[in-house]
Every structure is written in C-alpha cells, then in structure tokens.
C-alpha cells in the first residue's frame, strides 16, 4: 500500500527501483512494467529528473555549472514534486500501479554524498508518498563501474561528482563519488526497509524476485480494459482498419 506523507493510505500501489548507475534497475523496472501491462493492470510510469516544467532549468544549471549542493538538491526536489503532484498522486488516488525509476532515496544518497545535511534532505522530501515496495539493486562497485566505464563514455560534470573536488580526473572522481553513494544506499536499507535484489544474478532470476515481491500487493489494483475493441470487431464483423494507427506504441486501445 502506498501512503501519503501524513500516513493516510492511497488505494494505488507504488513500486520504485533504486541503485547506482549500472545496477540494471531500469531494465528490471521495464520488465516489471511489461509484465504488469500484460496482466491487464493500469500502470503509470515516472522517471527521475523528467518533469517538463523543471527539466530545462536543471539542464541549464548543469550545462553552465550554476548548481551548488543545496540548489542541486532543491531543483531535483522541485522536479520530483512536479512529477508527484501531476503523475504519481493522481494515478495512485485512482487505484493504479505507479512505477518509479529512482525515488527520494536517490536524492538522499547523492545529496548526502555532496555534503548536504541528511536530515535536511529528508525534511525537504517530507511531502513524498511512501512507496508500497522500494527495491534496491545491489551491485559491487567494481561491477557497476565496469558496466558504465567500459565504453569510456564522456562523463558529465555533476554525474562524475566533479563539483565535489575529489579529483580532477572525471573517471577517478566518478569512482569515488559512486563509492560514497553506495555507502549511503547501504545505510538506507535498514532505515527505509529497502528490498535488496542481488543485481549480479541473471536477469530473469532478478525479475522473478521482483515479481514475487510485487504479486501479493496486486489483489485490488486497478485494471484497464485493454482489449474491449476486439469484441466489437468480432461482433460487428469489422476489420479495425483505423485502429492500426492507434495501437502503435503509445496508442490507447
């Protein structure tokens, strides 16, 4: 059951995934989403740092390196608040399932690694909905670094934690920064009762673990009638020519 900050229960279910870059959490969330949709559930999805209202400001701040640890924290909180107010909360009130790729724990881990007071970050996010289940994809630091850095990608300033002055070399800085974040996550496992998934297991085994954890919560989740149009076609002897464009990805029926 998802709960409002004041403890009131919401009819919908909120499942979120957390973990450092390269932990494979997004892949797992996508698998869960497809499975839930296949089961006929009404599923909404929200991704970290994607609010259309706030994103441009964040992008500018990152590009021009205007962000300090405190403004970095607040702008991400604004992004989260917008997604919560407009996407997550309405869907949860309607009884739907909401999946979130990264949640407040990402902020708690990153902002604390940047030296922001951990209590204050928790206060800032005091309005956040309590998730039904929060998964933490645990992966050894070396493994995640290998997954991310093998292609020698160009690391961005804040992504690499270069604003912390740990090292001038983006790769060395990234490694140290990710290390700080892992320690923050590990401390939060007990604090917030995160459900740990061993992210070194084969994909399907991880999915199995996620699915069995989620399943008991689904009994009264909202289902969407997704294939009603098929019955109409059959009954009326129609072909559904004009439905084709609508059934393309993102279409409604």
């Amino acid at each position: 059951m998802a709960k409002l900050a004041d403890g009131r229960a919401l009819p919908g279910k909120l499942f979120i995934v957390e973990g450092i870059d390269g932990s494979g959490k997004s892949t797992q969330l996508d698998m869960l989403r497809k499975w839930l949709i296949g089961q006929g559930y009404c599923v909404a999805f929200s991704e970290w740092n994607s609010s259309p209202i706030v994103r441009d400001t964040t992008k500018q701040g990152k590009k021009k390196q205007l962000l300090t640890p405190t403004s970095f924290c607040l702008i991400h909180a604004a992004d989260f608040a917008d997604r919560m107010e407009r996407q997550m909360l309405p869907a949860l009130k309607a009884g739907a399932i909401v999946l979130a790729d990264r949640y407040v724990y990402t902020a708690f881990a990153r902002d604390a690694a940047r030296g922001v007071h951990p209590d204050w970050v928790r206060q800032v996010y005091g309005f956040a909905i309590q998730p039904t289940v929060a998964f933490y994809f645990r992966v050894p630091l070396e493994e995640s670094l290998k997954r991310i850095l093998d292609g020698r990608p160009r690391l961005k300033h804040y992504e690499a934690g270069l604003d912390l002055g740990l090292s001038d070399d983006p790769y060395a800085s990234f490694e140290q920064f990710q290390g700080c974040i892992v320690r923050q996550y590990e401390d939060m496992v007990d604090e917030f009762g995160l459900v740990v998934v061993d992210a070194t297991l084969p994909l399907l085994e991880q999915h199995e673990r996620v699915r069995t954890t989620v399943e008991p919560h689904l009994a009264d989740a909202l289902r969407a009638e997704r294939h009603g149009w098929r019955e109409v076609l059959a009954a009326e002897g129609l072909e559904g020519r004009y439905l084709d464009e609508m059934t393309a990805p993102g279409g409604q029926p």
Binding site: D56, Q60, T70, L74, H117, W120
Partner: protein
C-alpha cells in the same frame, strides 16, 4: 550582521561566518510599494557612500526564468512552485547575497522567504515543512513589513498592472470574478503576514501613507541598521 546565523541547518560548506555587510529585507503584500522603496533606498544609500546590492524573488540566474515559464502555464502544483522558489532563493543567496555581505555591501532584498511561505500557506502547504525547507536562509539584520489596507492597495494594483492571475489567487480560489478573488486572496495573505510578524520579528511600517512618508520612516530605521558600518564618505561631509 557580524556573525552569520541561519534559521535552520544553514548551508553545506559554509565556513567563514564573518559577514560584515547588512541584509535588509522589505516584505509586504502585492502592490504595497516595496520595489519603489528599494529603488529609492538604493540610490540614497549609494549617495551616502555605501556599496549596495539589490535583489528580489525570481531574479536568480539558475531558476528565475524557469519559474516565470512554469507560472505562465497552468499545471504547476504548490509544492513544486515552492521548491522552485527555494531553488531560486538559494541560488541568489549563495551566489549574490552572501558574497555581497562578505564584501560589506548593504543588501536590499525585495521580499524574502516570508512571502514565499505566506503564499504557500494560504494554499494549504504545511507551515512546518516550509520552515524546514527554508532552514538554509540567513537571518536578516532587519525585516521591514510594509502593510497597507486593501482600500489603499486596490487602486495601486489597478494603476500598475491590474489583477494578476497568481496575485489574485485565481489558481485556487473560486470567486465569481478576478476582483473578488483578489480581495479574498490578499485578505488571507495579509492574515498570514500578520501572523508571521512576531515569529520572525518584522518591523512594521505603515504603508498607507505617501511614498515620501514611507521612505522617511524606512530611512530613519535603516540609518540605525547601517550606522556602525564605514561608508566611503568622510564623516565631516555627512549631511546629518
């Protein structure tokens, strides 16, 4: 201020606490004449030999434009807007206000966290949460609370720019028209400011009078606030 003090946790990495400048806030509801007074005060203080920096809400480089864009749409929630204001505020605090105070400027600010809190509180945002979030704000040297009756505010607002969508609370009130909405909203806002006056030690300034009366009141008060600072003007040449 000599030693920086914060309302709450303050800012991470803030070490050198000496801030020899002065932080002076003008607060008050919409149309009460804050920006006019700040323009006058800035000129006067500069003529007196002080270095002055002026700032106000939504003027930060990071989030100023983002807030305005977001407010021009109709999908903005209360918590989101509040956090955008907080982002803009801390951006100006860290990159303008604190450096200026360190360099012994008199910083005049048109509104501070109190306006942000008041507008959020009338919309039902939790006051305790607001105080937590704004725990990084510096405690100013003085907060002048300009207050005027609605009867005085309405003609000023009409003459200036009319009844603005947000300043009339159209986003959440269900008044029959924008005038009624403005009256209702500003009444509620004034009640919030009045309630905060004690909590944050506002110095009340009656803004029903003429611009000149208000200016002279502020002048007298601000002279006290800056009197221990050194201005660039030799003592003998002071007019008073």
């Amino acid at each position: 201020m000599t030693e920086a003090e914060f309302y709450g946790h303050g800012l991470p990495g803030f070490k050198k606490k000496k801030l020899p400048g002065r932080l002076i806030v003008l607060e008050g509801t919409d149309g009460v004449g804050r920006s006019t007074q700040i323009a006058l005060l800035q000129e006067w203080l500069e003529a007196e030999g002080y270095a002055v920096a002026a700032t106000g809400l939504k003027r930060g480089k990071l989030a100023g434009r983002g807030i305005k864009t977001a407010m021009s749409g109709h999908t903005l929630g209360n918590i989101t807007l509040n956090l955008l204001y907080a982002t803009d505020f801390v951006d100006r605090l860290e990159r303008l206000i604190i450096p200026a105070l360190r360099a012994s400027f008199v910083v005049l600010t048109d509104r501070y966290i109190y306006s942000i809190m008041a507008r959020a509180q009338v919309r039902g945002v939790d006051p305790a949460w607001l105080r937590d979030v704004f725990g990084f704000a510096l405690i100013p040297d003085a907060v002048f609370y300009l207050h005027a009756d609605l009867a005085h505010l309405i003609p000023r607002v009409l003459n200036a720019r009319g009844f603005d969508y947000w300043e009339s609370g159209v986003d959440f009130l269900r008044a029959p028209d924008r005038y009624e909405s403005f009256v209702e909203y500003q009444t509620r806002l004034l009640a919030q400011f009045d309630a905060m006056a004690d909590e944050f030690g506002f110095v009340p300034v009656d803004a029903n009078g003429s611009i000149r009366d208000v200016f002279e009141t502020l002048q007298a008060q601000i002279r006290e606030v800056v009197k221990d600072m050194k201005s660039a003007k030799p003592k003998g040449k002071d007019k008073d």
